[in-house]
């Protein structure tokens, strides 16, 4: 789960990680008030669940409370389109007003789980403010990594090693070490999947401060952090993804695809997307209906796909183990009739009760082409696409 920068900052504050003085505003007037309180130059930062906001005017340095009011007013209520959002962008409902600092150096610090190490890993780099993936690609030697021990955690000497590797001024070594240890506690005690400080700055007077903060929380562990579950901001999600979340469906909207995919199992869902693309049409979504979906959930899954304006065709690929094909078929027919969707479908159905499922679909009067398996589905899609293009 993504959370906003201002929420991440609140968590960091609770754990004693130094951050700039900043407050969040929901209106231009509030922004002015905060800017007056902070005094002087401030930074106005759009609060959205997407990176790349600086490049599209989502972060602005202003010189007066009046200017802060103006910039906040222009941002709040609009949608921000960055290189990490879809073409619709994400809504700006709040801005953060932060004090400015005199910065001497910008560094990078993050913590993620490294599945192959089997532990949380602290990554640090002297290349602050840059995309860390780019640094990893072009100058991997500039990234310093230390794994925490699963049972002991991060030892202070580890944190000191990182501070030294970052080449911070002598005066800042101890506070940087403490900051890294505190950040590690943030990661562990909140079950994060990512904590990223980019940049971590050294000020002219050698203070170390987390200037920006990005925290992702692990969905599977949210049940043990009820206080964090409330940080969810559904408005930042694609509306279809929001509906899927409510129905407990693993769904990801893919920008610009034409073929909606409805599949059971994450691996098969990915393979179905791949083969759709190979057949010449971009998939519109990832969707795993899961093993034990009831008819209601199947119906909602189908409606989510059918309500996607980009979808011109639907590919259903079911290999039922625990799931029952007849129930899936009933769900599809009920949903298709209810939404009055005339979308052509290609259906491959195998496993538990597949024959019954196929019969239900065949008798439904819907525009359905059967396919024997994954490879057959690709052939059927290709043919169907040619038909559709031919008739246009």
């Amino acid at each position: 789960m993504n959370i906003h920068e201002y929420q991440a900052k609140e968590i960091l504050d609770r754990f004693g990680v130094p951050t700039p003085h900043a407050e969040v505003a929901s209106s231009a007037a509030e922004a002015k008030e905060i800017a007056t309180r902070i005094g002087g130059r401030v930074v106005v930062k759009a609060q959205v669940h997407a990176g790349g906001r600086g490049k599209v005017g989502g972060v602005k340095l202003v010189n007066s409370p009046e200017e802060a009011e103006e910039v906040a007013g222009a941002l709040i209520g609009t949608r921000l389109v960055t290189n990490q959002t879809g073409t619709n962008g994400v809504p700006v409902e709040k801005v953060m007003i932060a004090e400015t600092l005199d910065i001497k150096d910008e560094l990078y610090l993050s913590i993620v789980i490294d599945g192959d190490v089997g532990a949380p890993v602290v990554m640090a780099s002297t290349e602050g403010g840059m995309d860390i993936e780019e640094v990893a690609d072009s100058t991997p030697e500039k990234i310093f990594r230390v794994a925490g021990d699963p049972l002991i955690g991060l030892s202070p000497y580890h944190a000191r090693d990182i501070a030294l590797a970052l080449n911070v001024p002598a005066k800042a070594v101890r506070p940087t070490t403490q900051l890294i240890l505190d950040l590690y506690r943030v990661f562990i005690e909140n079950d994060c999947s990512l904590v990223e400080i980019n940049p971590l700055v050294i000020t002219e007077d050698d203070q170390v401060i987390a200037l920006d903060a990005k925290i992702n929380l692990e969905d599977d562990a949210l049940y043990r952090h009820p206080e964090l579950a409330g940080l969810r901001d559904p408005n930042q999600q694609d509306p279809l993804e929001q509906r899927a979340d409510k129905a407990d469906l693993a769904y990801v909207k893919l920008e610009g695809g034409r073929v909606g995919c409805m599949v059971n199992g994450a691996g098969l869902a990915m393979a179905t997307m791949d083969i759709t693309k190979a057949a010449g049409a971009d998939p519109a979504n990832f969707l795993d209906i899961g093993g034990s979906a009831d008819q209601e959930r199947i119906e909602e899954a189908f409606k989510i796909i059918a309500d996607d304006e980009d979808v011109e065709m639907i590919l259903v690929n079911l290999f039922a183990g625990i799931a029952r094909s007849d129930i899936v078929a009933q769900g599809i027919v009920a949903a298709a009739k209810e939404t009055n969707a005339q979308i052509p479908m290609v259906v491959a159905m195998r496993g538990t009760n597949a024959e019954e499922g196929i019969k239900i679909l065949a008798d439904s009067g819907l525009d359905i082409t059967g396919a024997p398996d994954l490879a057959g589905a690709a052939v059927a899609i290709k043919r169907k696409l040619q038909e559709m293009e031919g008739s246009n």
């Binding site: 990490q84 993620v112 789980i113 599945g115 192959d116 089997g118 532990a119 949380p120 993936e133 990893a136 690609d137 021990d149 699963p150 049972l151 562990i188 079950d191 999947s193 692990e218 599977d220 562990a221 049940y223 043990r224 693993a250 990801v252 893919l254 920008e255 599949v263 059971n264 199992g265 994450a266 691996g267 098969l268 869902a269 990915m270 393979a271 997307m273 791949d274 083969i275 759709t276 693309k277 190979a278 971009d282 998939p283 990832f286 795993d288 093993g291 034990s292 290999f319 183990g321 625990i322 195998r350 496993g351 538990t352 398996d373 994954l374 490879a375 690709a378």
Partner: protein
């Protein structure tokens, strides 16, 4: 000989809610020797009037000689169940539960390190050996056939897909192993490859990977050095966007190595027969085995 499971598998099932009960019944229908059921408070009762219930794994092992455990408990309780099974000395523990917090799995993997127990999962379909009718997990028994192809995969449904294609092309399976879709998991591709290479019954291997992590690259390195049997591989997720979790917690592109194309490249360089989609596994294996 199959790998991991076999005729001497004595199965203990922990977590007999709706799904656990359904799967335990399928397992027994197939002919697997389920010797114990673990559910606190049901001591003295019997599962389906035949298999004794125990409140603790230790007691179940002591009284039935169970050597293999399968876990269906809800994800928040999975770490505890795995540790209880490790402590009871089971040789093989298979955790089916999906949605186990990754920091729980981090602790489990640190705990198991110097123990003799082997863990498969979490979030996996488990293991099935058709010749010995040993099913530990949820792989549907009606789709498999005894034979000589070993299957190892991160995905449940793609395991079934591969099995169906092999059968369609007239090939059976020695053992099917689903290692699971979580970023931190027990038995890896490399572990299973080592077992398949040493297994007389296995003539060829199907490996199905997906985006995320570097385990397919590690498998490729291992194959290059140690595996003489033919391997057919496919990687799912070529069309997945970066930074978005594709269902499985581990299926997310974060960096170059996580890409399907990078994994395909590493496997091809190791002499693996890489197909562009899992749809072509059966046909390729047929071609390879002649």
């Amino acid at each position: 000989m199959a790998i991991l499971v076999g005729e001497d598998t004595r199965l203990l099932v922990q977590g007999l809610g709706r799904d656990g009960t359904f799967q335990a019944n399928r397992t027994r229908d197939y002919g697997t020797n389920m010797v114990a059921a673990v559910h606190p408070g049901r001591d003295g009762q019997k599962f389906e009037d035949e298999v004794p219930y125990f409140s603790t794994v230790a007691k179940a092992v002591e009284q039935t000689g169970a050597n293999t455990g399968v876990i269906f408990v809800p994800a928040p309780f999975a770490m505890d169940a795995i540790i209880e099974q490790i402590d009871a000395g089971l040789e093989l523990v298979v955790c089916i539960s999906e949605g186990v917090p990754v920091l729980d799995m981090v602790k489990v993997m640190a705990y198991i390190e110097d123990k003799p127990t082997r863990l498969i999962g979490s979030n996996c379909p488990g293991v099935l050996s058709p010749a010995s009718k040993a099913k530990v997990g949820i792989v549907p028994a009606n789709i498999v056939r005894p034979g000589n192809v070993g299957v190892v995969s991160r995905s449940g449904t793609l395991t079934y897909e591969a099995i169906a294609q092999l059968v369609q092309h007239g090939m059976g399976q020695s053992t099917c192993v689903g290692i699971g879709g979580d970023p931190v998991h027990g038995t890896t591709f490399t572990d299973v490859l080592e077992l398949f290479q040493a297994d007389d019954e296995t003539e060829a291997i199907v490996l199905i990977g997906e985006i995320g992590g570097i385990r397919e690259q590690l498998a490729a390195e291992y194959i290059k050095e140690h595996v003489t049997k033919p391997v057919v591989a496919a990687i799912a997720g070529n069309s997945a966007p970066a930074g978005k979790r594709m269902g499985h917690a581990g299926a997310i592109i974060t960096g170059k190595a996580a890409l399907a194309s990078e994994k395909n490249k590493a496997l091809a360089e190791a002499g693996v027969h890489v197909v562009e989609s899992p749809a072509f596994i059966g046909a390729k294996m047929k071609e390879v085995l002649g």
